[in-house]
């Protein structure tokens, strides 16, 4: 673990990413303390410019709602949506990929054809349709994001599992009488973990982007204040009140950036192949 951290630390970008993400997580966690009032409450006059009043450093939106509060509360939602939809798509993609990769043959064929179906329809368009059909709510958004994001997971898992499947320690496990389930869970999956974690960090970032894009098209959950929603709400007034969409946009940018930096750092740290040494 220590060794892993040391390797991770060598990537300056990853450390910066981690710091940014920590900051955002802290912001999300502290939002109810920092801004006890609902972010929806109209607290000042509309279109208050940023830094005009100390109490409202990021200004107010066209309804007189505090943008800073929205950014803080939005962090909770965006992170949650990103995280949960990633977990859900992992829950779909990992088993499908693992089963396809492990058993191969017809099972693999069938599962991969199924995966292809999802990849053949442009993914954002599919997400839009899914959310529209099931009507926007946190659930439908998470499900839609998960449904369009799992195929790459399945493909990654499949190729990883296929590679591991022919590794000798897996064959040894077969010979030692372990059953397929045990082998997949104990022998194979732990070895795909680093690939999964790297992918997951990137997927959280992508999910946050998809959620904000959906909100931009008016397909967000109206009950929660997410960054995507705030930008969506601010975009029509972007020229009178650039700050309304600017700050949450910046928040998304930083978060996604941080997650990608971390993903790269993890990739470097977990992939000793990149550690070059002489023979």
């Amino acid at each position: 673990m220590m060794e892993f951290w040391n390797r991770f630390r060598q990537n300056r970008g990853a450390v910066v990413g981690l710091l940014i993400l920590l900051l955002i997580v802290v912001l999300a966690a502290a939002a109810p303390l920092l801004y006890p009032k609902s972010p929806w409450s109209m607290v000042q006059r509309p279109f208050l410019a940023p830094f005009a009043m100390d109490a409202f450093p990021l200004g107010t939106d066209p309804m007189g709602r505090d943008v800073a509060s929205a950014v803080a509360h939005g962090a909770r939602v965006s992170l949650l949506v990103g995280l949960v939809s990633t977990v859900v798509s992992m829950l779909i993609g990992v088993p499908i990929g693992a089963i396809a990769g492990y058993f191969g043959g017809r099972i693999d064929d069938a599962l991969m054809r199924f995966t292809e179906l999802f990849q053949t329809v442009p993914s954002f368009a599919l997400a839009v349709v899914l959310v529209a059909i099931f009507q926007p709510s946190l659930y439908s958004i998470v499900i839609a994001i998960a449904l369009v994001s799992w195929p790459p997971v399945a493909r990654l898992l499949r190729s990883e599992v296929m590679a591991l499947r022919s590794r000798e320690f897996v064959e040894a496990a077969i010979l030692s009488g372990q059953r397929a389930r045990t082998i997949i869970l104990r022998q194979i999956l732990p070895n795909t973990l680093s690939a999964i974690i790297v992918m997951a960090s990137m997927m959280v970032a992508a999910a946050i982007l998809i959620e904000s894009s959906l909100s931009f098209l008016g397909l967000g959950d109206p009950n929660v204040m997410s960054w995507g929603y705030v930008i969506g709400a601010g975009r029509t007034v972007i020229r009178q009140a650039w700050w309304v969409s600017f700050f949450p946009g910046l928040a998304i940018l930083l978060t996604v950036l941080a997650l990608n930096l971390i993903g790269e750092g993890l990739n470097d740290a977990m992939n000793p192949r990149l550690k070059r040494r002489g023979k």
Partner: protein, 542 residues
């Protein structure tokens, strides 16, 4: 053939040190190494993995990996120090005056370029000849290195050639500009023994014809005996002993050299009493065919990996299966334990046909036949502790986990490791130790038969000898039957009661070790034995 040369050396390496980056396991990959090579002379640099032999070659070529640098010393080529040359001058020298061939002919060629183009490029790099001339030259080079049908080879992509052919292409490329110095970094290690013999002969011939200085890097003393004029033995970055072949191989002074030479398995089957006990395993007409590709319209390509293989294995017997790559020897092993399903034939284990069992029944029978794998790095799950790796078999068969773990510790002791190794992860062990763990795992289920698939091939010779000893003694103590699959005839000769020689999926000869090695009847067996490097000099090595 060996001739002392008095010519002025073309390469002189003086007190060369190559520093490794911070955090490496030792400060210097190469530590104050000196040697010289004269035109027409072949220097073998020999050593085990990690000895720094490749790094010295790379330093000479000026192609050290990033982060690794020469910290001291001089590399003189015809009296000029390469270390002081500009990058530009070095470009000129590489390929023209010093050329290099590598171990992996598969990856050393650009997969997307035709062979001819890759050779022509050498001329292009140095601004020589017209394109048409280059093409003609490439063709004649391919002919010179003995490729059958050179025009076709020239128009091929690397993947369309065999390993030996690719290595010939590499050599053609290296020879293109008639360099003074050729560096060959383990050029035959990845090749089959018969191919290796051909390539060695080719290198020797070219060296003689062109009066080149050759620096030949290898771990194989057989190869050294075969072609070297001069030998330098390296250990942990240092040259521990050097001299002529006579001196180093037949009269080694340094302990390390002696140890290495002693560890080489001897090509003597020795007289063993035939094992007469009843067969525990009988294989009849085993067949396996691989089918590749094939879709709606295309017929799958078929490879007959195993064809009608029959043999039996007596209790307590060691049966060797030898052959070159693609001979089907590994497929036989894998079909026996049903890692692959055979297409035909019977595998009778105590009278029960294992070849057709399925599911739970297969699982029950299979515990009696376990396997030891080739790759000490790939055969242990890096995320499981050693104790668990060994115990998971018995646990899977319903053993109490605590008891299984205790037994695992016993097994670790039995294979020569400490009990507390059980709590550690595989990466904390060396290759040889890992192979011991693999053996312990195979033993955990108390099998009657162990199949060792190239179990010592990836190990350095000194380690190899230890592991072979361990296997021998375990077999004796536990009354095991052993099927030993290997490409290395020396190893087979050393431990097998009987040997089965395979070629292209078929058994060409099956007999006792003495019959096979001392009086081979089949021409293929004979060619295999003849190809073993250094065989002629074996008797003189201690």
């Amino acid at each position: 053939m060996k001739h002392e040369t008095i010519a002025k050396p073309v390469v002189e390496i003086e007190r060369l040190s190559v520093a490794l980056p911070d955090g490496a396991d030792r400060p210097y990959a190469v530590d104050r190494v000196s040697f010289r090579i004269a035109p027409g002379q072949l220097l073998c640099v020999v050593g085990e993995s990690g000895s720094g032999k490749s790094m010295s070659a790379n330093a000479l070529m000026g192609l050290l990996p990033e982060g690794v640098r020469v910290s001291n010393g001089r590399i003189l080529l015809d009296g000029t120090d390469l270390l002081t040359q500009s990058e530009d001058a070095l470009h000129d020298i590489r390929g023209r005056r010093v050329a290099m061939i590598f171990q992996e002919p598969m990856t050393a060629l650009n997969p997307l370029m035709k062979v001819s183009a890759q050779i022509e490029e050498v001329f292009e790099a140095h601004g020589l000849l017209t394109p048409a001339e280059r093409r003609a030259k490439a063709l004649s080079l391919l002919e010179e290195v003995g490729l059958p049908d050179p025009p076709r080879a020239a128009a091929s992509f690397p993947f369309q050639l065999s390993g030996g052919q690719r290595q010939r292409v590499m050599i053609a490329m290296a020879l293109a500009l008639e360099p003074q110095v050729l560096i060959a970094d383990e050029p035959t290690t990845a090749l089959d023994v018969t191919t290796q013999a051909q390539i060695l002969r080719l290198i020797a011939r070219l060296q003689r014809d062109r009066n080149m200085a050759v620096m030949f890097i290898t771990h194989d003393f057989g190869v050294v005996a075969e072609i070297a004029d001069y030998v330098a033995v390296m250990q942990l970055g240092r040259v521990v002993e050097e001299g002529t072949v006579e001196q180093v191989l037949f009269n080694p002074q340094h302990d390390y050299t002696r140890k290495l030479i002693a560890a080489i398995p001897k090509m003597q089957a020795g007289m063993r009493a035939p094992v007469t006990s009843a067969p525990i395993l009988t294989v009849e007409g085993l067949t396996k065919t691989y089918r590749q590709g094939g879709g709606l319209f295309s017929r799958p390509r078929e490879v007959h990996a195993v064809q009608d293989v029959s043999f039996s294995l007596a209790k307590g017997e060691t049966l060797g299966i030898v052959g070159e790559s693609g001979s089907g020897k590994s497929s036989v092993g894998r079909c026996l334990v049903r890692l692959q399903d055979p297409d035909g034939g019977r595998v009778l284990l105590d009278g029960q046909d294992m070849a057709t069992l399925r599911g739970e029944e297969l699982r029950r029978v299979r515990r009696r036949m376990q396997m030891i794998f080739q790759d000490p790095y790939g055969s242990l799950n890096p995320r499981e502790r050693v104790g668990r790796i060994i115990a998971s078999g018995p646990i899977a068969y319903g053993e109490d986990p605590a008891k299984a773990m205790a037994e695992a510790a016993d097994l670790l002791e039995m294979v020569g490791l400490k009990r507390d190794a059980a709590h550690r992860f595989p990466h904390e062990f060396s290759g040889g130790q890992r192979q011991r763990i693999g053996i312990a795992r195979a033993l955990a289920l108390k099998p009657g038969i162990i199949i060792a698939d190239e179990a010592v091939s990836a190990l350095d010779v000194s380690i190899q000898a230890q592991v072979l000893d361990l296997l021998q003694s375990l077999k004796r103590d536990l009354g095991l039957s052993l099927i030993f699959i290997t490409h290395d005839l020396r190893v087979a000769a050393q431990i097998c009661d009987r040997v089965m020689v395979m070629q292209k999926g078929r058994v060409v000869e099956l007999g006792s070790g003495a019959e096979i090695f001392d009086a081979p009847r089949h021409p293929y067996t004979r060619s295999l034995i003849d190809a073993i490097p250094g065989r002629a000099h074996e008797a003189r090595m201690i």
